[in-house]
Assembly symmetry: C2
Homo-oligomer: 422 residues x 2
């Protein structure tokens, strides 16, 4: 009557250390991924700010596309103003008025000018603008010019901002508001940025969507929303594959969809027996080379499967919510950041003193959630204890202390480095 | 024939300094805004990561909602295992099997146990789980228990993560992935976060949407996309009011829409004559107190209108793209950050040496875009010159040097502080 799957085969395996797992994964990744040539996507301009460009942006036509006034005044041929002064003005006949957004439709002859607003297109023949402050009306159809202007004065010329064929922004550049301004100026509707799609699937017959009510024995899916949030926080685009029960055929179907739609695939196991092995078998069945690592000497986070399926990294994530997020941080986040073209350094760890002893099992690396508090100008780290099935320890924590596999714990007063969240 | 609006009245005004403008605006802001009680919005969980909570989140029901196994094994009454050992096991009869996501439907009597997977709901009467590794099958319907367990061992109890009525997250907290996990666990579909809506309207008869082709005299709207990107980069939610021509009645209509839909309203002037005054008059006409500041002693960025319309801050932004973004940074961004609950410090300025002289007009504060380069281990700042009608100076720049109004410029070799972009 007892379910035979209760015998857990991974107990018998040699567990890999995190460093070993990273090396195995990194060694197996295709060039394309190692060089960051994945995760590039045509993205609407409205969503591109903060993303890293994945193309060289070439200016398709001169910007501005015509000579423009940058002051209100009169468009002139500069030579007609040479020598003009308050005592001896130049007199120019007004040939017309430039209207915003329109070609004036006329050209300036010698001794002519045209009223022009800031931003207006210079009429043919004009090469400068005299500011309105340096003019005076003269009769109905002329103005006095009280100061000379040089050719190009108070004007931006066609192509001054960028010329046709110029590379105005290069691949690898992180887009700021001014870059969006320039991209709009040259007429871009979309831009290719590094924004990897990370598909997230939750499995477990006990799970219901987080927006639904739970019946006895049911739990709301926490890992799906949490992993998608973690992807989003790094600049990736989460793909929500929803949740499926512990049925290998169903899981395989949805995993296949994830492999075609996304750059990375995360399958968070329910916590139920044997799910880890189902994911393991499916990764091997779906493509080559399949499973790379199965099981880590890490607490929390032992039940992890790392695989590569026809070029797409796939992670079987632990079901416990705390383990799931710590494994994301250690193994998945670096890959998402690589795909996002994110070369920023991680935030520096904070030095703190332990407020109490903490015993750790030698032989596996441990991540200890701690709360940071300042006392007398120094930082103190208080361990937050609780099984990894609880999320509240991580919610109350400000960061993690990494305890090496060889260590058997920490003493109150020990100085530790706390890797901050965010 | 020349347009009479060419006489620009703001030349005659007393221009305010940036500091004066900030003080006037801040003095006029309602309590609600000063205390950051604006910009709070019900937001889908999928978009909430990185945002600051604007509510205390109360746990509506115990999490987990029932006692759960955190190991695979046998649910037992702990007392039935006391004294058990490999030499002298306890023998328990298997009353049934717990299935994931279901109530077992039976209760344990004395000397009974139930097979249970990790995450399974404990049957009534059970208070601990014996790991499968510490058991041995015994006949068809019993198991040997080889080690004792204490009550609560290998179990998380109902409410261990959070109890009904607990405040699990407080207003002001910035949401991380683990917080999203907890919110999903308690069944939240949305959460109130600080995510101010900032409406952005571009005006100018010369403008076309950035996705369209330009005819002679036309320019693509750059300020709309750039301002919306700047809002988004700070964590606000841009509201796209599109663009309208220089028609006061049309502009007023769209501004009214912005005032009802958003927490802040930005109207970027076309660069054409008199637009600034149109915005000025509209702000006064739309509500109280109306215009607070008109014109700044700042380069670039002089033509700015700051107003408050029935509690909503309204900014008439300069039309030139560089001026527009520098004024956003100086005047609008702090308000957006306040609304976002963002208490992080701005990035520290970089110390650098000027590579060449730069003349500045005394009497107005100036923001000089510079490119930063490292030479012999020190930073050098090279000024990027060009009229504010060009965006390329800001695109090529890494930051801004602020030149005080009293200064007449900088010399090559001067040490300056560069405020970095991002």
């Amino acid at each position: 009557m007892p379910n035979l799957r209760l015998v857990m085969p991974h107990e018998l395996r040699h567990l890999k250390t995190l460093d070993e797992a990273r090396r195995i994964l990194w060694d197996a990744l295709p060039e394309r991924i190692l060089e960051g040539r994945f995760g590039g996507r045509q993205t609407p301009m409205a969503e591109a700010v903060g993303c890293v460009l994945d193309e060289d942006v070439v200016c398709p036509a001169d910007l501005p596309p015509f000579d423009r006034a940058i002051m209100d005044g009169y468009a002139v041929r500069a030579e007609d103003t040479f020598g003009a002064s308050e005592g001896l003005p130049a007199y120019l006949k007004i040939a017309g008025e430039v209207r915003m957004g329109e070609d004036s439709g006329f050209a300036l002859s010698h001794q002519q000018c045209a009223a022009i607003p800031t931003g207006g297109m210079l009429p043919e023949g004009a090469d400068a603008v005299v500011m309105v402050e340096h003019t005076q009306p003269w009769g109905d159809d002329s103005v006095e010019i009280l100061r000379p202007v040089a050719p190009g004065e108070n004007v931006v010329r066609r192509g001054d901002d960028a010329r046709e064929g110029d590379v105005i922004l290069s691949a690898g550049h992180r887009l700021r508001a001014q870059d969006i301004s320039a991209l709009a100026g040259i007429g871009r509707a979309t831009v290719v940025v590094r924004r990897p799609r990370v598909a997230v699937l939750s499995t477990g017959s006990e799970l219901v969507p987080h927006t639904e009510d739970v019946a006895p024995g049911q739990i709301r899916d926490m890992n799906g929303p949490a992993l998608r949030a973690a992807v989003r926080a790094l600049g990736g685009e989460p793909v929500d594959l929803g949740l499926v029960s512990d049925d290998p055929a169903l899981i395989a179907n949805v995993m296949r969809r994830g492999l075609t739609e996304a750059d990375l695939l995360l399958v968070s196991g329910g916590t139920s027996v044997g799910v880890e092995d189902v994911i393991h078998e499916l990764i091997d069945a779906l493509g080559k080379p399949g499973v790379l690592v199965h099981g880590l000497a890490v607490k929390p986070g032992k039940p992890v499967v790392i695989g590569l399926v026809d070029g797409v990294p796939v992670f079987g994530m632990p079901g416990h919510p705390t383990s799931c997020l710590i494994i994301f941080r250690e193994l998945v986040a670096p890959l998402v950041q690589l795909a996002c073209g994110d070369r920023r350094h991680p935030p520096a760890p904070a030095k703190a003193r332990m407020t109490r002893n903490f015993a750790s099992q030698a032989g596996r690396e441990e991540f200890l959630p701690v709360r940071l508090e300042q006392r007398d100008g120094a930082w103190e780290a208080t361990p937050l204890l609780g099984p990894s099935a609880l999320i509240s320890t991580l919610v109350r924590a400000d960061g993690l202390v990494r305890i090496a596999a060889v260590a058997e714990g920490l003493y109150a007063g020990d100085e530790v480095e706390v890797e901050p969240f965010e």
